[in-house]
């Protein structure tokens, strides 16, 4: 899941649909994000490539809407409701997730295990 700046990124993604939960007067999703093009990518504990400035899920509240939707810690968020998240600032990312008039967010996330799964399914095992 490394990227070369200037080249298009391909990744195996999973679609995750999260329904926001109302808590008082806030609509929460139940996870925390880190990263962004204005952040220091070297401090990202989840990224493989330490120059990746994407948005990563750093924490998932147990029992929250994100956990229910199978979002996992360490996932990299590629798109939110059609909006790209690979080249955004941290604040832009937060804003795109917390729009007040959207009750559902549809994310495209990628994680290392997905890549591995695809790789495994593509390699041929030696017949015995």
């Amino acid at each position: 899941m490394y990227f070369v700046p200037g080249q298009p990124v391909t990744a195996v993604v999973q679609r995750i649909e999260i329904h926001k939960l109302r808590q008082g007067e806030h609509l929460i999703l139940g996870f925390s994000i880190g990263g962004g093009i204005d952040q220091d990518p070297g401090q990202n504990p989840f990224s493989e490539d330490k120059t990746d400035k994407g948005i990563y899920v750093t924490r998932v509240t147990p029992g929250g809407p994100a956990e229910v939707a199978d979002l996992r810690m360490g996932d990299k968020i590629m798109q939110v409701n059609g909006w790209d998240m690979t080249m955004v600032t941290h604040d832009q990312a937060r804003k795109r997730l917390t729009k007040k008039n959207e009750k559902v967010v549809r994310l495209l996330v990628t994680r290392k295990s997905l890549e591995e799964a695809v790789k495994h399914s593509m390699t041929t095992y030696p017949k015995q």
């Binding site: 679609r15 806030h26 929460i28 999703l29 996870f31 925390s32 994000i33 880190g34 990263g35 962004g36 204005d38 952040q39 220091d40 401090q43 990202n44 504990p45 750093t58 924490r59 798109q79 409701n81 059609g82 941290h90 604040d91 990312a93 937060r94 997730l97 917390t98 008039n101 009750k103 559902v104 549809r106």
Partner: protein
């Protein structure tokens, strides 16, 4: 005289319109369809209202909205009229066909209708860099909206003002069309209207207008002159179909022009966002031009009725093939979507009880009528499915032949629908019905993108209670300087009030610091008790640096850690040596301690001498707040200080987290200041921010 010719033309147009109306009424009468007639009448009334509003309103925004409704009404009228004509034609054809020959039984199966919803329309723009740097003239703004047409239903989205600060045109509306057939064609049209001031035709006196047009820049003047020409007031082009049939009355005011359009149909339906191409009409010379990227993103979902409604229901007997020939189960079966739900009783359906079992009816299912069962007279139906590689067959029979026949019909219809609606029948697509909201307030004109950056205190739910408490404490301290303090703080402060002698002790600490040893003011003897409570408050004084040297923070803090005992000694000795009055330093900690002292004693200190220039304090703050030594990633500025402080020695002065300490310690820091500090913390590249969503 051009004005007279104009008036004459208008009169002629009105007459034509009246004639057309009569013609339409006749057609409607002959079709004996009063529904369309009512709709047309309604739309015409709406249109007249919009025209009057347009003529009467003075505000530009109102005029744009009225023009938008005018455009929508006109389009609706055109659509209804063409539908009327089509119906008339169909009737005539039918009559002709009937007369010619007996057409024979109509064997065509009609697919079921469905709901089609389009939402989250987004049209990216592609501004040239020259647009951003062009300062001459006003911002080029356009009012845009989308008109969506499917069959006979036409909806418009809300109007959006677009200028070079926007990178995409977004329409938040969700539009649902209720009766769409699988061969639907959803036409999306983007209309735009130039929205610069002073361009409303007829409002500016000609002399002034000509002066303006000659004095403005070349492109702006061109646009103005174009707007002033009578040609601009001509009726909006109505797509070329029957231009004389009910022409739009020309009304002075803003006019919308078609900027781009596209047509979406069943292959474009998907449960996620997709990008489609736009056909752009118009070029750069037009006043209503916007640099479109050439595509539109949206979510087009469809819910055919066969997936959401019960297509067929009734009692039947089911038997699994290979089972006991006598094991017929009587069930109440409901055919809905890709399943045949079998309930024990009919009431279960209403009570939302789980069905007894479910038989899948999807593209892979095979249904055939089996030969007559020797035991019963009626025919039975065999439904075969493949469950994980295994063939499972259910046999279904009903009481009488007509029922069986009806069930077969229903199954065939279901298969036909699924073949027509294709990918929409794989899974039920969700359509969120637009909730009735209050209309969004009109946002004021924004000068630049930077206006959108709202700097607010982060609402971090994960900040610990003690952080919140700490924040409160600081606020209260400051407030208590003014004499007021809420009662609950007395819990913490009772020790302070008991010892009036301490203030002097505390304040005299102040001069005891050398300008280069940063700080940790030792506490007064009462502090050990307070330590556990305010442990988190004690932002390591090593973090707070001398205000006079930004860079010296790190070496200083190391220095500090090595020196705790000296501070205590300072304390003990300070009471005995008030003469150790060093020149007041501008150190942050000095101020902090002063603050503490003041809280304990409540005044009596020379304020002015302790007040460093606020600006000097602001600079060290980022270094102070985010210690790179902290191995854990930080959440907010407060928790940052708390995390580092917990690793600091406990005898550090209970100085405040940098949040409230800097700036004006003797007055309550304003929310703007606090947010400014938060912003600095956030902008510091050494932080790796995390936000809770």
């Amino acid at each position: 005289m051009p004005v007279d010719k104009f008036a004459n033309m208008e009169e002629k147009l009105w007459i034509l319109e009246d004639l057309n109306m009569m013609y339409i009424r006749q057609i409607a009468l002959s079709l004996q369809d009063s529904d369309i007639q009512k709709k047309i009448d309604h739309e015409i009334r709406m249109r007249d209202g919009a025209c009057k509003l347009l003529a009467a309103c003075s505000q530009r925004d109102q005029a744009l909205e009225a023009a938008k409704s005018l455009q929508t009404c006109s389009t609706r009228i055109m659509a209804y009229m063409s539908e009327l004509q089509r119906m008339k034609e169909a009737q005539v054809m039918q009559r002709a066909a009937r007369r010619s020959s007996d057409a024979g039984p109509m064997d065509d199966r009609l697919p079921c209708k469905g709901k089609v919803a389009i939402s989250d329309l987004r049209i990216p723009l592609m501004w040239k860099d020259t647009e951003y740097f062009k300062n001459k003239g006003e911002l080029h703004r356009c009012a845009v909206f989308c008109l969506l047409q499917l069959g006979g239903e036409i909806f418009d989205t809300d109007m959006v003002m677009v200028d070079r600060t926007l990178t995409d045109i977004c329409f938040d509306n969700t539009i649902v069309f209720n009766e769409a057939s699988p061969g639907f064609e959803l036409r999306v049209e983007l209309y735009s209207c130039c929205s610069e001031d002073d361009y409303s035709a007829g409002s500016t006196p000609r002399k002034l207008a000509s002066k303006l047009s000659s004095s403005l820049g070349r492109s702006a003047g061109k646009k103005l002159r174009a707007a002033m020409e009578p040609g601009a007031c001509s009726p909006v082009s109505n797509g070329g179909a029957a231009p004389l049939l009910l022409p739009v009355p020309s009304v002075p005011g803003p006019k919308y022009h078609l900027l781009a359009h596209t047509t979406l149909s069943l292959p474009h339906v998907q449960d996620s966002f997709r990008t489609h191409d736009l056909t752009i009409s118009g070029n750069e010379e037009c006043s209503y031009w916007l640099p479109l990227y050439g595509s539109v993103c949206c979510r087009l979902a469809a819910q055919p009725h066969c997936m959401t409604q019960q297509m067929m229901s009734g009692y039947m007997k089911v038997k699994q093939l290979g089972g006991d020939p006598q094991s017929w189960t009587k069930v109440y079966a409901v055919l809905k979507g890709t399943n045949l739900f079998c309930y024990h009783r009919q009431e279960d359906v209403e009570c939302n009880v789980e069905p007894a079992f479910t038989i899948a009816i999807n593209k892979e299912t095979r249904i055939r009528a089996s030969e007559k069962d020797p035991q019963s007279k009626a025919q039975s139906i065999c439904i075969s499915n493949q469950y994980g590689g295994e063939d499972v067959t259910h046999t279904v029979t009903t009481d009488c032949r007509e029922d069986t026949h009806r069930w077969m019909e229903a199954f065939w219809q279901q298969f036909y629908d699924m073949s027509q609606w294709k990918q929409c029948c794989d899974d039920l697509m969700k359509i969120e019905l637009p909730s009735p909201r209050k209309p969004a307030p009109v946002t004021p004109k924004q000068g630049s993108l930077y206006h959108e950056m709202v700097i607010e205190t982060s609402d971090d739910l994960s900040s610990t209670v003690s952080d919140i408490l700490a924040r409160r404490m600081q606020e209260l301290e400051l407030r208590s300087q003014l004499g007021t303090s809420p009662t609950w703080t007395s819990l913490f402060e009772e020790e302070a009030h008991q010892s009036p002698g301490h203030p002097r002790l505390c304040t005299s600490r102040l001069p005891g610091h050398s300008p280069h040893s940063p700080h940790c003011l030792a506490r007064s003897p009462m502090s050990p008790r307070r330590c556990p409570q305010l442990g988190l408050l004690s932002s390591d004084a090593s973090l707070t640096s001398d205000s006079d040297s930004y860079c010296s923070s790190s070496p200083c803090s190391h220095h500090h850690w090595a020196e705790p005992p000296s501070n205590f000694s300072l304390l003990s000795s300070s009471s005995s040596s008030p003469s150790r009055l060093r020149p007041r330093t501008l150190s942050l900690d000095a101020k902090l301690s002063t603050l503490r002292g003041r809280r304990y004693g409540g005044g009596g200190i020379n304020q002015c001498s302790c007040q460093p220039p606020p600006s000097s304090l602001l600079t060290p703050l980022p270094a102070a707040s985010c210690s790179p030594r902290s191995p854990r990633s930080t959440q907010t500025i407060l928790s940052c200080s708390s995390s580092t402080s917990s690793t600091s020695s406990s005898n550090s002065e209970g100085s405040h987290s940098p949040e409230s300490s800097e700036g004006a310690p003797f007055s309550r820091p304003s929310p703007a200041r606090r947010s400014l500090r938060n912003l600095r913390a956030r902008l510091d590249p050494r932080n790796w921010l995390q936000s809770q969503v």
